[in-house]
Amino acid sequence: MTTLTAPRDTAAAPLLRRGGLVLAAIAIVFAAALLAGGRFGLMLAIGLGFGIVLEGLRFGFAGPWRAMILRRDPAGLWAQLLAIGIVTLVALPMISAGTGELTGAQAPVGFAMIAGAFIFGAAMQVVLGCGSGTLVNAGSGNAVALVALPFFAIGSFAGAYHLIWWTDLGALPIISFSGWRGVAVTLLGLAAIAALLWKLAPPEHRRLPRRLVVAAVLVAAFAILNLIVSGQPWGVVYGLGLWAAKAASAAGADLSGSAFWSAPGSLERLKSSILTDYTSLTNIGIVLGAFLVASWRVGGLSQKIPALPLQAWLAAIVAGFLLGYSSRLAFGCNVGAFFSGISTGSLHGWVWFAAAFVGSIYGIRLRSLVKLEPKP
């Protein structure tokens, strides 16, 4: 009797677990919609979608840049360019044709912006997690990301606190490409980079796996939905900084000394629920979506946490803080500046890409120096 029912029970266990995970995800989205409003429930659902695609199809930013730098494997970077191109085709004309309901990720290029992007590129290679990657990795049980995440939030808060001082060091006016002309310029730029990667890659790496094509299309679809629902592009670091700012405010900190946090819009958002902040909702969704996928996989969460030396954990803390601080000076991370900046026509997205990529080359070397991986 036991031998006959045991295999059936074993087979039913993942089904029950997976059914429970899906029901929990739906319940969380409905709860957010009921508590805060339909738009906010939708934004949480979009965040879940991002998390599921990023973790489920292994679409990332830091890893593919590392693969290009170390092995000249451009597949992941091509997938990023494809996703950005798809969003550009839809988002730029919509923003240009609209009546101000939708906005792009436009920001000025400046000294601090370039330095911030460089440092972000280096730090994201140290922890092997960018803005979205740190959230995905934390949700799927990566201990380094889990340690880095709260310091990422604190860094984002501190970077925003000092943002105006840094920006005053010198910045150009905002330069952006709009309408179909902007689409043409952006797609040409993306195609040129894709061609350069093709030239740099060895023949065996000149292929884009179907998994990454599907992931790029899905990430682009969720990014477009993000824009349509919230009126603004996909971002990550503002939400993290807001969490730390709210915690500081609740602990009695006086934020009036910061031009950023004492601005009317910031004050309003500090007094509002994070369930009404778009980037907070997508961030929460990304963590939960990654958790859902990791729990869905057979043995997805049974991996042991690696034993790392103290130096590595300290590096994760410092890199986490730098990720947050630098991304505010750079007007976004790989998502807000690189992905959303380029796809909505902002020059700063291109400059961010160049500076962060150079930073990544140094960050890869740093990762082994701080003992987060063995020396090559």
Binding site: L227, Y238, A250, S302
Partner: protein
């Protein structure tokens, strides 16, 4: 220790964050904006990492 522990800590941390925040600043669904920004006729007002703060009085 496995990833189950660290992933659970991440999810629990998010849950605690939302719960503490909801108790301090409860959301009001009756003040919710229209479902979609596109077609709503209102300018976006959410915080974004690429945006500089708007000066007072604007």
């Amino acid at each position: 220790m496995t990833r189950l522990v660290t992933a659970s800590i991440a999810v629990l941390g998010i849950a605690v964050l939302v719960a503490l925040d909801a108790s301090a600043t409860p959301p009001n669904p009756y003040k919710a904006p229209p479902l979609l920004a596109l077609g709503s006729g209102t300018a976006p007002s959410g915080g974004f990492c690429g945006a500089l703060p708007e000066p007072a009085g604007t």
